[in-house]
């Protein structure tokens, strides 16, 4: 019998203690150790693989989608035609001449 039950005052006391002790505490099932170790290894393995744990087709798909989006974004950028570019340069030169004239130079 438990020492605590004999002490009585701090525990359940002798009568209640005996009743409580009459209910067996379940024991771990057979193979518990093996199953726990297997689960532990699975979790460790999962942790070490990280992103690579994902199926390969998801990684390839995500990569392809990103490349396609990048290409679309590049293509949708407004392009500057040569004519527009030289017109803008001419306008700057004209402005310069006008400024010099006003300044009496």
């Amino acid at each position: 019998m438990s020492m605590n039950r004999d002490k009585g005052r701090d525990g359940l006391g002798p009568d209640l203690g005996r009743l409580y002790a009459s209910v067996p505490v379940p024991k771990a099932p057979a193979w518990f150790v093996a199953r726990t170790m297997a689960r532990l290894r699975r979790e460790e393995d999962k942790k070490s693989r990280g992103w690579f744990e994902l199926p390969r087709w998801i990684l390839i798909g995500a990569g392809s989608a990103l490349m396609a989006l990048g290409w679309l974004w590049w293509e949708s950028k407004p392009s500057v035609a040569d004519a527009e570019f030289f017109a803008a340069l001419d306008a700057m030169v004209e402005e310069e001449r006008e400024s010099r004239w006003w300044a009496g130079l």
Partner: protein
């Protein structure tokens, strides 16, 4: 001595030694599984899953273990955390259903020591008594249930129980007192002398 061995094992576990982990599980599997089963109302897949989670937590947190407290105190603290989280996730305290009682009937019958000359009526009374005690324990609030188990089954000191529950030694004693009063009321019929 026992604690020293546990501490050595935890040190090895912190360095990733799987063999030390296996040894630790062998040493404490019944303690952890029994406590979980008592807390959640019976043995079964939930108890096994929780007990496994507890050992995995020990594996992951072994590096943080400080030998200021006994290893079993730490182990029971981890157990308490996971069991109480389990209760919160289920959104319930504990209800012992007939199915839980039935599932353990075989186990109880296996462990119910055969006594020569005992009548079937006495056997039935024994089974009823066990069910009554189980139901009475299951109706206790989780902290009281844990205090009773740790004190009566694990024979832990109140100072250690207090650490497990995050209360003072006096607080642990107070929980025990309330648990005892609750159990006395619920099991009063088993104390009365037959007229």
């Amino acid at each position: 001595m026992e604690n020293e061995l546990d501490e050595k094992l935890v040190l090895r576990i912190a360095q990733g030694d799987e063999e030390a982990m296996r040894e630790l599980i062998v040493r404490h599997q019944d303690r952890v599984y029994g406590t979980v089963a008592r807390m959640i109302g019976g043995a079964g897949p939930d108890a096994e899953d929780l007990a496994q989670q507890i050992f995995i937590r020990i594996w992951k947190a072994a590096g943080k273990y400080r030998s200021e407290a006994k290893f079993t105190t730490w182990l029971m603290t981890v157990t308490r955390n996971l069991v109480f989280t389990f209760f919160e996730s289920r959104g319930r305290k504990l209800e012992v259903s007939d199915s839980i009682l039935d599932s353990e009937t075989d186990e109880v019958q296996e462990r119910w020591e055969p006594v020569e000359g005992r009548t079937p009526r006495e056997d039935l009374a024994g089974k009823e008594l066990i069910d009554a005690v189980k139901l009475a324990c299951a109706s206790l609030p989780p902290k009281q249930r844990l205090v009773v188990h740790l004190r009566e089954h694990e024979e832990m000191e109140f100072s250690e129980i207090g650490k497990v529950l995050g209360v003072s030694e006096l607080g642990a004693k107070s929980l025990m007192f309330r648990a005892r009063e609750n159990l006395k009321i619920k099991l009063s019929e088993f104390f009365t002398e037959p007229s």
